[in-house]
């Protein structure tokens, strides 16, 4: 097994002015499960394909372990693209379906059998090894396909949106299976998805990309608690973080009738470019309902209540119509999301007063988009 290093790796597609992946620097530790996530077209697949050897690296390097593989052909990189279209062969036993690539490579029979048995144990397929694929369930067949990659014991597994063709239920199931299997095998894995929930639930660490640029890399908790910039703040988390544009005056962040005190440290880190403005981020679950007149409280008109049993979310907007457009969230422009007590949800059309819980607001510079110390 081995680590993976992107060292200023850049890919510019022929005929394009801007790089699809721009000087990517990223280290994936030995045995780690790293998820590349970001909106469509941000360069995730291009990054993965550079690692696989399918895309040329225009500048920079790619290393697997200590080995520079930038100019090495895909089949010589000792990687496996998992969940590609693996056909199962009807006349071959499960064991032969798993081991035939080793047979082609000339691996001795005894060793093939041993590796297949080891993989089968991990995959819970031991008692099926001598059967034909036809006798297996859908899930077991999927594991045989996985087994084919495992027996080769590659240095790195690559997966590009492997779950995108599955229906919602099977997707959640398979997600857990892949994650736990990877932990048992301890094979370094790079996984691409556009789905941040998938990223948060599967990855040891997550790398967020946008427009070919790495935005932040960290554990799911780090990404969630301390997003480095406005983009990551809005992208990670579901429902998404609310982001508001506030005026700074009198040591407070002000928007219509709302005045939120700011610390000295935050105030000091603002610059002239910020033009006496600040971007505040607050997650739906960082809001408490309160009453009018409480310090920092703001009124929200309820458009829709989404009840999920254990949770309820209010989708609404700032009651003050002129100020409403200063706030956005994953629900859209002028939209705010608030988590409320599911046992006492408000009604559509109600106005609820909410307040950001002490210490749970995120501060960003409007000029640079970067997180401010707080």
């Amino acid at each position: 097994m081995a680590s993976v290093t992107f060292d200023h790796a850049t890919r510019v597609y022929p005929g394009s002015e801007t790089p699809a992946v721009d000087a990517l620097n990223l280290e994936v530790a030995d045995g780690e499960f790293l998820v590349l996530v970001g909106p469509s077209g941000c360069g995730k697949s291009t990054s993965l394909r550079m690692l696989a050897g399918l895309e040329d690296v225009n500048s920079g390097r790619i290393l697997i372990g200590d080995r520079d593989v930038t100019d090495v052909q895909p089949k010589d990189r000792d990687i496996a693209m998992v969940f590609q279209n693996y056909a199962l062969y009807p006349h071959m036993s499960v064991a032969d379906n798993m081991g035939f690539a080793l047979k082609i490579a000339g691996t001795p029979k005894a060793e093939i059998r041993q590796r297949v048995e080891e993989a089968a144990k991990i995959l819970d397929l031991s008692q099926y090894l001598d059967r034909k694929p036809k006798a297996l369930s859908g899930g077991q067949r999927q594991r045989v396909a996985m087994g084919r990659a495992i027996v080769r014991s590659p240095q790195v597994f690559l997966m590009d949106e492997p779950l995108s063709n599955l229906d919602a239920k099977l997707r959640v199931q398979t997600r857990t299976q892949i994650a736990s299997l990877q932990r048992r095998l301890g094979v370094t894995t790079v996984y691409v998805t556009h789905d941040q929930t998938e990223a948060l639930t599967m990855g040891d660490r997550i790398a967020v990309l946008k427009d070919g640029l790495l935005q932040q890399v960290g554990t799911p908790r780090e990404m969630y608690d301390t997003p480095k910039n406005i983009f990551v703040a809005g992208f990670i988390g579901s429902p998404a973080m609310n982001l508001g544009q506030f005026k700074v005056a009198d040591g407070k962040a002000n928007l219509a009738e709302t005045h939120i005190p700011l610390t000295r440290e935050v105030l000091d880190s603002l610059t002239a470019e910020d033009n006496n403005e600040i971007t505040l981020g607050f997650r739906p679950e960082s809001l408490d309902t309160t009453t009018e007149g409480d310090v920092g409280a703001f009124p929200v008109t309820v458009d829709l209540v989404e009840e999920l049993g254990s949770d309820a979310f209010v989708y609404g907007q700032l009651a003050n119509k002129e100020a409403a457009q200063a706030i956005t969230s994953g629900a859209g422009e002028s939209q705010m999301i608030v988590r409320v007590d599911p046992r006492r949800p408000p009604l559509k059309g109600d106005t609820v007063w909410v307040k950001i819980r002490e210490g749970e607001q995120h501060h960003f510079s409007p000029a640079t988009g970067l997180r401010l110390p707080s």
């Binding site: 696989a52 895309e55 279209n85 056909a87 006349h91 071959m92 035939f100 036809k134 859908g138 396909a145």
Partner: protein
Amino acid sequence: MPAALQITAASPDPALLDLPWHIPLEDWPEDLLAALPRGISRHVVRFVRLSGRVIAIKEIGESVAYREYALLRDLDRLDVPSVVPVGVITGRRAPDGEPLDSVLITKHLRFSLPYRALFSRHLAPDMATRLIDALAVLLVRLHLTGFYWGDVSLSNTLFRRDAGEFSAYLVDAETGDMHPQLTRGQREYDLEIARVNIIGELMDLEAGGLLRDVDDTVLVGEMLVQRYNELWAELTEAEEFSSADRWRVSARIQRLNQLGYDVGELQMTTDIDGTTVQIQPKVVDAGHHHRRLMRLTGLDVQENQARRLLNDMDTYRVATDQLGEDEELVAHEWLSEIFEPAIAAIPRNLRRKLEPAEAFHEILEHRWYLAEKAGHDVSTQEAVASYVSSVLPNRPDEEAILGLDTATLRAISDTDTEIGVQR
């Protein structure tokens, strides 16, 4: 409010609406189906008779269905040998409201022979080589147009007879991607996938006792890599020679033509003192003979068939002493005097045996055989008569089933080939 069936097609056939879309494909009534052999697949695929032809229906997720449909349309537009897409149907529901998978519909490729049928018969000695050659030609052609296949296999290829050789057609574009140009890594990876898949598929036939006349499956897989690399080099590599050897420019073009390629652009550079010349083909288009025959006669046949027909046309030109005549006039005459009468002489009930151009190729072969035996020339007319009475009736019916015994057919057919890992 029941969701409506949605049909996306360039020219939808209303008869499509009569098919039982509310039933999972697996359970469609036998009487609708055409029992033709297929390759291995993860999805359920069925052949269905519709408006006097056969269509192939594949159950597959909606987004993938649209993607594959679009890719097959692109390939069709680019004139790459592939199955022709008919359309996509989404919004299927069972009577109880349960949603059913979308389907991708393609035209069944007439006279196509899936590899499981081909390798399960006694092969002519070099049949495996010819099939692999055909696949190498297809893969080079796809790569030249910027298509990365991602799942090259014998199951995803169909073969048609092509004047004694074979032509390969792409049947499964699900994992493909169109690029302006492929990187070497993409080409090499496609080749590696092909190699492993081919060997796996042959090992499978071997395990089922269905493989005839192939001893070393690994060797067959490696042959593909070798043939691909040879062809790729001939079509793309730079060649350097002294400026005295300028004949090598036209020699290269001629060689490419013989291989079936037109040269769209040839780059020629000299060094500063002009003693060496370097040439490199930049744009080559497959289908040299195909296009020439099409232009001259309007016949739309495969590359080797076209080569064969053109040869016969040239022979006719010499034999009728028309070397000075306009090529198009001679072609027209050959068509109405030789080709069309030969095809017309094949009785209607024997026409499903072989495609017309392939039958003509066999007639030419037969003519040569008769001439050998007789020790003098035999006219095409005589050859046709003899071929129709003594050869063709004994040929398997290739448009329908392929002269396989029923046990073999069962072994390579239906339920056996669908072992999806999809669900």
